[in-house]
Symmetry: none
Subunit: 214 residues, 4 copies
DNA sequence: CATGAATGAGCCTTCATTCAT
DNA sequence: TATGAATGAAGGCTCATTCAT
């Protein structure tokens, strides 16, 4: 009130950013437990105390990191799909989206960071709600494509839309996990596209067999 | 002190077994990093030194554990399939196998142990070659079913048999990973069966579209 | 910016009071080391910097807190005794005062705050001169009662008045310490009254033995 | 079994002792929170890991320290009293015991260590059961003296024996606390003896007034 | 083979205080 | 006066592995 805190705020934001960036860098290489707060602040060139001024805990920082990453990716996907015409066949959209996801995961996020997330997710190191939350934008994207495809008769399935959506996301996570444990011999994009073609076939031709009992 | 080789061997084997069993028990509840060598030897009632007599490292022990578990599971699957007639439709066999896998994973191995494996796999805590190895019996099982199905025209795919097999295994791993991060709200068997019906559809009806470009 | 000394003073006093009150509240629950400056300013809704504007250190604040508490208690005791007639027997006055002290300690000050004081006192966390100072009003109160009692022959002792006074205060502190480490199974008032009856007996009947050597 | 572990055990005991002694030394000077595990192991010349081989925690070590100290003191008191004839007057025994306690507390245990205990006790830093436990040998000693004194008519009191015993111990603790916060101007032995003479008077002459209400 | 003491690096978090604005 | 970012030392505890006996 008495003074203009803009400079102070800038300074603070700068410090926070340095910590954030250093962490991002380190987590791109090593997993949650292998990256110490010490190493983060050292790289950031700030004091350890500063870390806890800006982030309540190491977990919280990683949360923020992952959350931002997820949002950024989802924004990418959304913008990407907006460039397509609404009449585009569902199948095309699905494959295009998968391709885009592959690009983002492989090139933008990268192997190590992705692995860190998948590890953290299963290790309960941090709260990865943001990643698995069914309300993530990406679920909506898949859901919309599927819905339109079904409405237009391009796709067919006796299963509820919501279940199909979850299945597709599960497929992506499965591919990503496989990539994480098989890299570098595993070509993410190629495998993802082939795999999804298979799935799309299944969606397109709901033979009577779906009523059979196992 | 008279040396009796036989007794000694028996003793050694006994010690090793106690360690092994205790570890198995502990890893069924907690993850690799949460189970300490101390806790293992305490439960086994042997000394810490003994541990390193029988296992070169904690990782090595977990290796053995996982390897055995994999072999045991694969044996289960193999025996299970042998009870089916060779003429059984590929689709039926696939679904039956998936159901069996679900049963083994959920009931025999169990959530915590499975999670330990999946975590260890992605965390590079241990060498999980045995799990991901393409020579695992289970790959052969899937491959055989697919091969027969294709030969008999029940299934169709322009994709190489080996790729399809890998895809199915990747699907299973994806489901399992999803289970690991979503339990208990995720019903493994149900989701697995529904998901595989989708995949089988895709395998059965290779529409022309599979030649389209994305 | 027009400088208005009055407003500024009011503001300052207000800020100081908020810090003071919050601290009082927190120290009523947790001990010196468990209450952080952070928690105080957070509860007070002021900045950390403000804290150090009004109090040179955490210790100084606690000093003020304790000092005020002591003064307040002593005022209570003084007023309480003023309501008694001067001719009241010394024994009655002593027991009445002890009862009053028990009430104030237990009900007005309360267990946690009292414990904080006793802890701080022995831990040298803060300067607790005000509590132990022989010039505290309460010493004078006890001294007066004793003096009158001795003068009127109700009490007898070869020991100097000043020593007796110190002994009584030491007794109270002893009871309070015992209460601090035995609560809640220790009934302060009951034990205090019984204990003082014993002491008063000793004061009343100075047998020859007081000259004996141990 | 195979080997004679005597040497090993000796070595271990030696290490434990070094830690124990260093801790004893440090706690004689500084309080629980001011003595770090680091400082203990440094003085002991052993590794930090060793500390936790021999003691589960810092608290546990202090527990052991205090417990030993208490036992040692109580043994001193017991042996001391055994040197007295059973016919010795209760009053003499009580004063003799107080004098002995004063000697042990002041000369054997010492101011700083005593303070550490009293601080730890009220700060809940460690479990000081052993100190306050009503089953401590010292309670029995006081109880026996009182009982005999009452039986022989030397002492008189309408209060239960157990309560009187607790009162005496509370008195000692009160004196000790006062000493802790007033040293060095407070002469423990002198004050203790004078104070107990007062108490003993109260015990000897239970005037009718003990039935009065306050 | 069995034992278990010893190691020592490593980690997250807390906190009172300072000071530029 | 008020602010709040920055500091950096301190501290308890875990754990896989080694090695002399």
């Amino acid at each position: 009130m008495v003074y203009n805190g803009t400079n102070r705020k800038r300074l603070a934001e700068n410090t926070r950013q340095k910590i954030y960036d250093s962490a991002m860098h380190l987590f791109s290489t090593k997993s949650f437990n292998k990256v110490s707060v010490d190493s983060i602040v050292e790289m950031a060139g700030v004091s350890k105390g500063s870390f806890y001024v800006h982030f309540p805990s190491k977990s919280a920082l990683v949360n923020a990191l992952i959350s931002d990453q997820v949002q950024s990716a989802d924004t990418d996907y959304t913008l990407f799909l907006e460039s397509f015409s609404d009449d585009a066949p569902a199948e095309d959209l699905l494959l295009a989206l998968i391709g885009k996801i592959a690009d983002v995961v492989v090139d933008k996020i990268g192997y190590d960071k992705m692995k860190t997330v998948y590890k953290a997710q299963i290790a309960d190191d941090v709260d990865t709600q943001t990643v698995t939350n069914y309300n993530r934008a990406i679920y909506k994207l898949f859901s919309d494509i599927l819905e339109r495809g079904i409405k237009r008769g391009e796709l067919n399935s006796s299963l509820p839309l919501e279940l199909l959506t979850r299945h597709l996301m599960m497929a992506i996570r499965g591919i990503t996990y496989e990539w994480c444990i098989r890299s570098p011999e595993f070509n993410y994009k190629e495998e993802a596209l082939q795999y999804f073609k298979l799935l799309i076939e299944g969606l397109r031709n709901p033979s009577l067999s779906s009523n059979r009992q196992m």
